[in-house]
Structures are given as C-alpha cells and as structure tokens.
Symmetry: C2
Subunit: 275 residues, 2 copies
C-alpha cells in the first residue's frame, strides 16, 4: 500500500485507527483455550468485529514469539486473514541489526509474512535500517520518540554539535535515507505537545502514535499538533480495545470501543477538512 492509497483508505473508512494485536494467551477469555489455536481464534473474532472501524492492525511480535513455533503459526494465520481485508498491516517488531542480519528480518516480515510495514530501532544507524528499504509499497516505521518512561534516558540527550536531541537527530538523519513514501515514525502520544516541533522536521511523514488510551495520551491533542494534509497519523490502541471485555462478549465489546474511536476520528477528519 502506498501513501496515496493509505490516505484514500483513511477517507473511505473515516478513521485512522490501528488496532494492536497484543494477544496474550494469559489474558484472552478462558473459553477460547479449548480451541485448536486460541490466539488465532481471538484475533479472528477481534478482526471480524472491528475491521469496519480501523485502517490498520499491528500484531506485536513479542506476544507470538513468546509461544515459540506455535505462536509463529498463529501469526502466520493472522496475517493471512488480514490480507483478505482492506487494511494496512504493521509488524511491531522493533528489529535492527547489522546489514546482513537486518536483511533477514526484512525477508521474514516483508517476503514471508507480507506485512506492509515493520517497526525498526535506530540505535545501530543507517546500514541497520537500509535493508528494510527499497521494497515496493513496503514501509519502515522507525522509532523516534517512544511513549514509555525510559524514553527520557537517552532520547533527550542533546548533541553538542547540532544542539538537537537524539530523537530529533534520528528524524533529521533518517529523513535523508528514505522519503515519506516509505518511511514513517513512531511518536508516542504521551508527549503530544512535542508533535508541533516534530512536524517542523518531518511535515509530510506518517506517524504511528501509540499510547492513546491505556498509556494516557489524548486523541484531540495528538490531532491538534500532529495532523497534516494527508492526515499523516495512524493512532494505535491495543489493550483499550482488545481487552475491553474479558467475557464471551469480548469481540462485540471490542467492536463498540473501535466504533467509538472511529467516530472521534471522523470528527477530527471533518474539522480538518480531510473528508
């Protein structure tokens, strides 16, 4: 999916909601544990109930990896199911390694699993990111400013030469490695007011914004400071949707929560004259 197609999808669904499939076998409703593949069953019901309200799904790879080869099979089935819907798919993997190794992670997520995008960590620099680039209609989503407390440990270190913070350096340097047609950034919603300055560096890029809901960010603030002329925002919610109910009605409840967020997003898109 390219940038124009992504914006069209946002306009069509009147939503820029991404649903995080952080599917923990210890948290899903117990009746699913009798199924052959409880994780996939959970995902399937969540996807069926929410896909009209969301434009993207983001399986969090750790949750599948923690179940070994069986978890990897659940992930394979989940991406195959997602491919049947008109949605953007993100492998939340936060990978990054020397070139020949990043190339194999790219093969895993882009060739074998056919995700549209993968999240990548910037610490090892350009040659750890570049193997993920150059795939037609595929995207790197690079970590810039994350939504956790630990973001304060290193991401705000200010460079003596440029007088810029580490996350700003990441944005500036990496925006030379690829255009806004194949790179996006992770920017946490807990620091919404910082989006103003971030938009000065990267006005045109899409941002993947975690941390709305469970982690405390506000959709209105994110939109106020972060929206651009092609929306430029994919806002993620995981736990707030998929674990809204832990009973037999979990899928219907997830659908309601996703619908609520979609309606808020529709208002934002209208206010900004994007639909």
């Amino acid at each position: 999916m390219n940038k124009a197609q992504l914006f069209k999808l946002i306009q069509k669904k009147r939503s820029f909601l991404c649903i995080g499939l952080d599917t923990d076998i210890k948290k899903i409703p117990p009746h699913l544990l009798n199924e052959d593949d409880p994780v996939f069953s959970f995902n399937k019901q969540i996807i069926d109930a929410t896909h009209n309200f969301s434009i993207a799904y983001k399986p969090n790879i750790a949750f599948y990896e923690s179940l070994g080869s069986k978890g990897w099979e659940s992930l394979e089935k989940t991406i195959q199911l997602l491919k049947k819907y008109e949605v953007f798919t993100i492998a939340d993997a936060k990978r990054g390694d020397i070139g020949n190794t990043s190339a194999l992670y790219a093969r895993a997520f882009f060739e074998n699993l056919d995700f549209d995008a993968v999240t990548v960590a910037p610490y090892m620099g350009s040659d750890s990111v570049s193997p993920f680039l150059g795939y037609s209609h595929k995207w790197v989503i690079l970590l810039a400013l994350t939504s956790n407390k630990g973001a304060l440990d290193f991401q705000f270190i200010t460079d003596t030469k440029s007088n810029k913070k580490l996350f700003e350096e990441v944005l500036e340097k990496s925006s030379n490695w690829a255009t806004s047609d194949e790179m996006m950034y992770v920017v946490g919603a807990t620091q919404a007011e910082m989006l103003k300055d971030i938009r000065k560096i990267i006005p045109d890029h899409f941002l993947l914004v975690p941390g709305v809901g469970a982690q405390g960010g506000s959709l209105e603030e994110v939109a106020e400071y972060g929206i651009n002329k092609q929306c430029g925002l994919i806002v993620n919610s995981s736990r707030g949707i998929i674990y809204a109910s832990q009973n037999n009605d979990f899928a219907a409840t997830a659908g309601e929560k996703a619908h609520e967020l979609q309606q808020q997003m529709e208002r934002v898109l209208k206010q900004n004259m994007l639909i």
Copy 2:
C-alpha cells in the same frame, strides 16, 4: 551460568570463543537440503565439531525467524542440543520494547528457550531493559558500541550536559540498572582502541565482542585493551568459522578454524596469567 562459572569455563577450555550460528539456508552445503531440517543438521555438525574449542554459541535469531515457524523449530532443537554441552548460550535478538512487551521477549528467550543471555537494544531506556533482569543466572547483553558503519550515526552523539558520547551514557546509566553479574555489553572489535576508555567506565563487566575476522577486528588488540582479571571477554566469530568451507568437509574445517582461534586465545590467557 553465573560469572564465576563463566570464568571457570574459560579457564577449563582455555578459550573465550563464541561461535555465531548465523545459519543461512541459502549458504549451507547443498547436500544438507535433502535432510528433514537442514538448518538444524548444519548446526548440529558445526556444534559437534567445535564445542571443545568454544565456550559460547550465539544463534542469530533473524536467520531462524526468516524461515517462519519451521525456522523457530530449528532454533528450539538447536538450543536443546546446546544444553547438553558445557557452553554459554546467547540469543542474538537485539530486542527492546515497552515493559509489558519486553517481558514477553524475556519469556520467549529465558523461559521457553532457556538461553543464558539475550542481546538487547538500549534506545527505549531502562523500563525496556529491566524486564530481562532478575532472572537467576541469566544475562542481558546490552548494545553499547556496535561494529557496523552505522554506529557512527548516533552512538557518538556527545551530550551537552555530561560531555559524554551516547554509547558512554548507555554504559554509565545502565551500569546502575544491574551489576556485572547479570549485565554484559556488546562492544565491536572494529574500534578496539576505544576499549581502553570503555574499561574505565565498566572495569568488571564481560564484553561480547563481534567483528573479529569477517568484520576486520584483531584479537590481539581486543585483548590488549579489553581483558580484565576474569577475562571479561567473549569474542565472537560467525562467518569465519561456520562458512570456512562450503563443501562436505564444512564441519571439520569449522573445527580447525575454531581450534586456531582457541590456540590464539590460550596464548592471550597465559600472557595475562589467567591460566
């Protein structure tokens, strides 16, 4: 395995060699492709031929993940085999995410696969690393200074407040998160002379040193600047050993290459009066 046991193993085997199992199905000898699990067959023969000369093995997770659930099965069989030998096992995964997600990566590598150590990326800070800590006799190996060109992009950014480089900040801060009994660092061999300054910050920690051989670092230099009173070095070689021959004699040739490195390491240990 704790630190004292690791040092004893180094003394017993007269080696501080780690062998990187970067097993690429496209590079292994073609006759293995007829086997049920070519990747595991390759690993088994490599391990059988080299375990007398090495103290550690480091499967590079990307290579297994690139084969999907089948690759994950090869990894599961490989770690089960490694557990039969007296070796330290490292999952080279470079993971790191918000707390609840890092906890699941820790579950994957420490509980399910029972690795002794996992490599972790520092960008997201303390709460992305801490879920890997607190496992008895398990280790975090945190990226500090990597051996690739891209290391220059961000790791050398100098903080205006502390006047320290990013990788030095990572060493200093993280050495307060855990002792040298459960944390090690990745420090690339291509920058061996920098080990001198690094040892001022972390005199007692073990360092995992990639980049000797194929990536151009020298064992003598690494030892000169990096060795400490419990050796404190685990030097990795991957391609230089496992792909030394691509014919039917690949395992025997790998054994010879590992033996050569072990002999060089034995000389270094003697020179430093550690054996």
